[in-house]
């Protein structure tokens, strides 16, 4: 007998108290928990997102779509970035004002990315109640390693269309087939005396730009 069969047989033997006719759906799951925690206008939802992002030490910026290239340029300058990687799907105009910063191709190896100062991406969506941005490796977010190895991540969220209130609302908009990265603030650890410290292996600085229009 294969180990697969051994395990499946043991499970069936262990569950002799479960009636044969019972279907999984017969085990009731009461889903009366809340779809979202509070009713908010899109405006309030965006405000909550900003608040919760900041609470976990992400740096939040707000601008209009027209202002975005200048805002990104100023963030790169403020960080002293000389190199930047932006996935292929990032609109060219986002970096239009940052011509002085060298563009590194998305396909770079992890070692090459380790030398890159900043990564600029969009996102799949953002969750207000938890202060989370979710990347799903779409062309404007790129390969997972691109948003992982550089130490500085600028993530652009289109407000209000990319912002959902809650985790249940996020899951139903995301595809499990795509590799997802949920990011809530910069890398952190609670491993020393159960006290939170920001900054270990992922980007130590996370800047989220909430863009309107």
């Amino acid at each position: 007998m294969s180990s697969r069969e051994t395990i499946l047989n043991r499970i069936r033997q262990a569950l002799t108290d479960v009636p044969l006719a019972e279907a999984a759906q017969d085990v009731t799951v009461d889903r009366s928990y809340l779809r979202r925690h509070g009713e908010r206008t899109p405006e309030q939802t965006a405000e909550l997102l900003a608040e919760n992002l900041a609470d976990y030490r992400a740096v939040v910026h707000r601008c209009t779509n027209a202002e975005l290239p200048a805002r990104i340029a100023s963030l790169l300058a403020a960080h002293g970035s000389r190199t930047v990687v932006a996935p292929a799907g990032v609109p060219a105009r986002w970096l239009a004002d940052s011509a002085d910063v060298e563009r590194v191709p998305e396909e770079s190896t992890a070692r090459q990315l380790d030398m890159v100062d900043t990564v600029v991406t969009g996102c799949a969506l953002a969750i207000a109640e938890t202060g989370t941005v979710v990347l799903d490796a779409s062309p404007d977010q790129g390969l997972r390693r691109v948003t992982l190895v550089p130490d500085h991540h600028i993530c652009v969220v289109r407000v209000p269309e990319q912002v959902v209130d809650s985790l249940p609302e996020a899951l139903e908009r995301l595809s499990p087939r795509r590799p997802l990265t949920w990011i809530s603030g910069p890398s952190a650890t609670s491993d020393i005396e159960l006290d939170r410290v920001e900054g270990v292996h992922g980007p130590r600085t996370l800047e989220v730009v909430l863009v309107r229009g």
Binding site: L15, S32, Y33, L171, E193, G202
Partner: protein, 485 residues
């Protein structure tokens, strides 16, 4: 991994370690208050908790179907599924997969299950070096130590001890720590970042566990904070995930419950910094090869126990450890397994059986105060299971080991206790005899010492003085006439 030292024997030593006590007290009290606050933010916490328990029960009652569904979905998405009946088989599978890549080192994401099966030791025996990349696991590995907490394996170490370990040991494993390293957590984290980065960048094989596996889609989920998980799940060419069969959840939608319950219960955050989900392999992004090793190792034996099976709902948040007064004083090592604290006290004896002194003592490593049940996000009634397992130890009876029904004898060393229990029961069934005994005690009370040599109770506390007359005599004297009516 099995340890012959019983829990009380191990605790006798650890409870006297003032440094350990201080570290644990500080850490658990810090997180306790934070968890309470994070949970209080959600008005529907009790409903989420009930839904979490129900989804896990649904999964467990139909686990065979869900595992087959999971296997189909993972395979369809480009992954390879392996099945391991026990620790040895899982270790053999992982060793073989690593050897097939030609590599001699792997990077590891923190995983309880690889601790449970002793994977690092098995890999080392095969000439493969496993690098732990979670900060706390790194502290444990560099300190040649054992984990003592599910979430924070190095909780027994304070910042100064961690600095000393880094200064002394990092150089032997790779990039040394700066000699002027201070004990500020930020500097310690920075030292770990630099030390591990070279390992991430050159690693070709990673080993992980998973927090959840979605049967319907074949998706695995890893919840973490530091980014070491992302590094391991993304950069290497080969990813091997070893996961207990009970980590399955039926649907993608079910994650909406667990991704709310877990972070708030665990690190007391609305959401942990990083959650990664992946389904098989993705062309050009992440590992080219993905292996999932599904592990039994005693889980089906626990599943066969209708009271004990609720322990398999556990999502390893560690909230029960952080509120447990026994864990806080005894420390994690006294539990003698990868699973310390209240959950370990009910999981270890079910996974390994109750034959040895350690496992037979674990169900008693609790005052049954109930704090663990109160905070458990999937409503595991830990006190109920503890008492149930005590019965197995004290009275023996029918249980399942390695898939077979067996009848076990009462554990050794309980004979005197059993006799005492029988005697007490006899007295309690004969109120007149009880009354006579009470009177005798009352009459001889002046001769009772406050401490009795050999009685462990009186080692640390005085015995109560016996009153001149028991209540029933007073009642008889003052209200006796009314009894007749």
């Amino acid at each position: 991994m099995s340890d012959a030292t019983s829990f009380p024997q191990a605790a006798r030593v650890s409870v006297r370690n003032a440094q350990l006590r201080g570290n644990l007290r500080h850490a658990t009290h810090t997180i306790r208050a934070k968890r309470a606050k994070a949970v209080a933010e959600l008005a529907d916490w009790d409903r989420l908790r009930a839904a979490g328990a129900a989804i896990k029960d649904r999964t467990l009652r139909h686990l065979d179907d869900y595992l087959e569904q999971l296997e189909t979905a993972v395979t369809a998405a480009g992954g390879t599924v392996h099945w391991a009946v026990d620790a040895d088989e899982a270790n053999r599978i992982v060793t073989r997969l690593v050897k097939a890549t030609g590599e001699t080192e792997v990077v590891k994401v923190k995983s309880m299950v690889t601790q449970e099966i002793g994977l690092n030791e098995a890999l080392a025996a095969a000439g493969i070096r496993a690098y732990e990349t979670d900060l706390a696991e790194l502290i444990v590995q560099l300190g040649d130590d054992r984990p003592s907490h599910i979430l924070v394996p190095a909780i027994h170490r304070n910042r100064t001890e961690i600095r000393d370990i880094f200064r002394r040991q990092m150089g032997r494993w790779g990039r040394p720590a700066p000699q002027d390293l201070s004990d500020s957590p930020a500097e310690l984290a920075e030292a770990a970042r630099l030390h591990l980065r070279e390992k991430f960048l050159r690693a070709k094989v990673a080993v992980s566990g998973a927090n959840f596996m979605v049967a319907e889609t074949g998706t695995l989920v890893v919840v973490e904070s530091e980014g070491n998980g992302r590094m391991c799940l993304t950069l290497p060419e080969t990813l091997i995930s070893v996961v207990g069969i009970e980590k399955t959840v039926p649907t993608w939608r079910d994650l909406e419950v667990f991704l709310q319950l877990l972070p708030r219960s665990s690190t007391a955050e609305r959401m942990n910094p990083y959650t990664s989900t992946w389904t098989g392999t993705t062309d050009g992004d992440g590992p080219r090869e993905f292996h999932l090793v599904l592990l039994d190792n005693g889980r089906t034996d626990a599943l066969a126990d209708q009271v004990g099976r609720q322990a398999l709902r556990c999502i390893r948040c560690s909230a029960c450890l952080n509120v447990c007064p026994v864990y806080e004083r005894a420390g994690g090592h006294a539990y003698g397994s990868a699973y310390p604290g209240p959950i370990g006290a009910i999981l270890t004896p079910q996974l390994r059986g109750t034959a040895s002194a350690l496992e037979a003592s674990l169900p008693y490593a609790s005052s049954l105060c109930g704090a663990c049940y109160e905070v458990c996000p999937v409503a595991i009634d830990i006190p109920e299971v503890l008492v149930h397992l005590r019965e197995r130890v004290a009275e023996g009876g029918s249980t399942t080991r390695d898939g077979a029904r067996v009848t076990i004898k009462p554990a050794k060393g309980h004979a005197a206790e059993r006799a005492a229990m029988r005697a007490a029961r006899w007295a309690f069934e004969h109120p007149r005899a009880l009354r006579a005994g009470e009177r005798l005690a009352a009459r001889t009370r002046r001769a009772h010492p406050a401490r009795l040599p050999g009685l462990s109770w009186s080692a640390s506390r005085d015995l109560p003085t016996v009153p001149p007359e028991p209540f029933r005599d007073w009642w008889q004297r003052t209200h006796g006439g009314e009894e007749a009516k």
